[in-house]
């Protein structure tokens, strides 16, 4: 099944539309009847108390889980069942809460792996290597080095990622996602476990990615300060249901949101 190659989306138009999506695991309802959209070029935050269904929502967009009900439209085309591979082909990249890097490979190789979809030279050329395959390796290595420069991880590029500290691992994972040149970048708690300085760095990277490459970003984040500073619009989930959707200021003032976080029973 080919991934839908949607229409060209202008900045500001809807890139991804989630309509009335519900997801349940057996009796556990992860997400119920959630609808929202993500506009091209914006930074969209998804927040909510623990267990609100945020990661599940991302997993659905990504193709990991198939929702029981609802529809997702990406780049103008609706999709039914979609595998993660097809999401990747369609232009969606993702990072994970618990860093999902290839532990046996170096940072450089991890990011080069992100170029897989962009590399075309087939088996035969790779076998001989000298010639078209080598040229391709060189080109993509060049692009990857640009990303490495951008993320300031030159000094660790040859180190196996398993040996890197957590903060740097997250940066490498971001690099790998960027290497895919995605239309939509899904970040699952990119700042979890980071100190203030690391958070500032990561925030700047996210803003730069959005400015410089024009990548649309959806991120799950718990740090309210980060959310308010970075995002254009915020979606709030609680117990799998949408309870607010708007600009950071609007959401911050919304009573339902305040109740959810303070744990007021409803």
């Amino acid at each position: 099944m080919r991934a839908p190659h949607g229409a060209e989306i202008a900045a500001g138009d809807v890139l991804l539309a989630v309509e009335d999506v519900s997801l349940a695991f057996g009796g556990v309802k992860a997400v119920t009847g959630v609808s929202f959209d993500i506009r091209k070029g914006e930074i969209r935050a998804i927040i909510g108390p623990n267990g609100a269904g945020k990661t599940s929502m991302l997993n659905v967009i990504n193709g990991f889980y198939q929702p029981q009900r609802g529809r997702i439209t990406f780049k103008g085309k609706a999709r039914a069942q979609m595998r993660p591979y097809e999401a990747a082909l369609g232009g969606i990249a993702r990072t994970f809460q618990n860093v999902a890097l290839f532990k046996g490979m170096t940072a450089l190789d991890n990011i080069m792996a992100g170029r897989t979809l962009k590399m075309r030279r087939g088996f035969f050329w790779q076998l001989i290597r000298v010639g078209p395959a080598l040229t391709e390796e060189r080109e993509h290595r060049h692009r990857v080095e640009q990303i490495i420069d951008f993320l300031k991880i030159q000094h660790i590029r040859k180190i196996p990622v398993g040996k890197l500290p957590y903060g740097l691992q997250k940066r490498v994972e971001l690099g790998r996602a960027l290497a895919m040149e995605p239309d939509l970048l899904l970040l699952d708690e990119p700042m979890a476990g980071m100190n203030l300085e690391e958070k500032e760095d990561m925030s700047r990277f996210i803003l730069d990615v959005n400015d410089h490459y024009g990548t649309t970003i959806a991120l799950i984040e718990h740090d309210m300060g980060v959310v308010m500073d970075l995002s254009d619009r915020v979606l709030v989930l609680d117990h799998g249901v949408k309870i607010a959707d708007g600009t950071p200021a609007e959401v911050q003032a919304d009573q339902a949101v305040i109740d959810a976080y303070l744990g007021v029973s409803h």
Binding site: T55, F64, F96, A100
Partner: protein, 306 residues
Amino acid sequence: MLGPILETLIGGLLTGVLYSLVALGFVLIFKASGVFNFAQGAMVLFAALSFARLSEFMPLVIAFALAVLIMIALAYAIEFLVLRHLVNQDGIILFMATLGIAYFLEGFGETIWGSDIYKIRLGLPQNPIFILESVFPGGLLIDPSELIAAVICAAMVVLLAIFFQVTRVGRALRAVADDHQAAQSVGIPLNKIWLMVWAVAGMVALVAGMMWGAKLGVQFSLSLVALKALPVLILGGFTSIPGAIVGGLIIGAGEKLAEVMLAPVLIKTFDLAGGGIENWFAYVLALLFLLFRPQGLFGERIIERV
């Protein structure tokens, strides 16, 4: 027509019970430590060798007791020399370590006890008897020693099932199988647990070895028999004790039936030099099972969370 088939079936079922005995050892260790113990077969061989040689110059009961002690000592050695150092490693690393243990044990066992074929005399009735003579003309031929083995096996299964479900130690074992680190952090003494489990598996191996040894004689090919336990586990599920029994029965019966019914057909169609389907039937069956129901009949579904 039905008679010979039934005979084959019963013979196969009884062999299957013996497979289950070997598989039980696997299940124990896997259930309790998450380790896929490839060395189970070598343990069966080693136990059988020890018992066979010891029983040559001392009464059976004492030989048995000594063999039990030897298997416990073996469990100590394995825990101390190998397992302790590989805590928290990938499953595949542990699996390969048990491969190493298997090879070492085989060589070691044969170095100490010798590599001839040894007989185990358990005083079991050796001669086949005829049953159900009233129903089928001439009766059905079965091997009483296998029947006895079946009973012993059933008894062991019941004991082990109770052990796992009911006792505190059994609960701890299940916790360890789930997550080494988590079990440690609630104070379960990992090393002692592993020790106990390998010791119990060793004793199961001993019983299995005695049964198989009495039937085949103790020799190297015993470890090939143990390899056969792998398809049993796949059919039954790696963590299920009843699964090991059912799996063993299916494999045992299936093999024999295939040899008797399927082989002649294949020989004619493909102009083969003889049968020998038993060599691969169990594995191919397991393969097909894996494709449609990877967790086996009784095993637990593994869901991967991201």
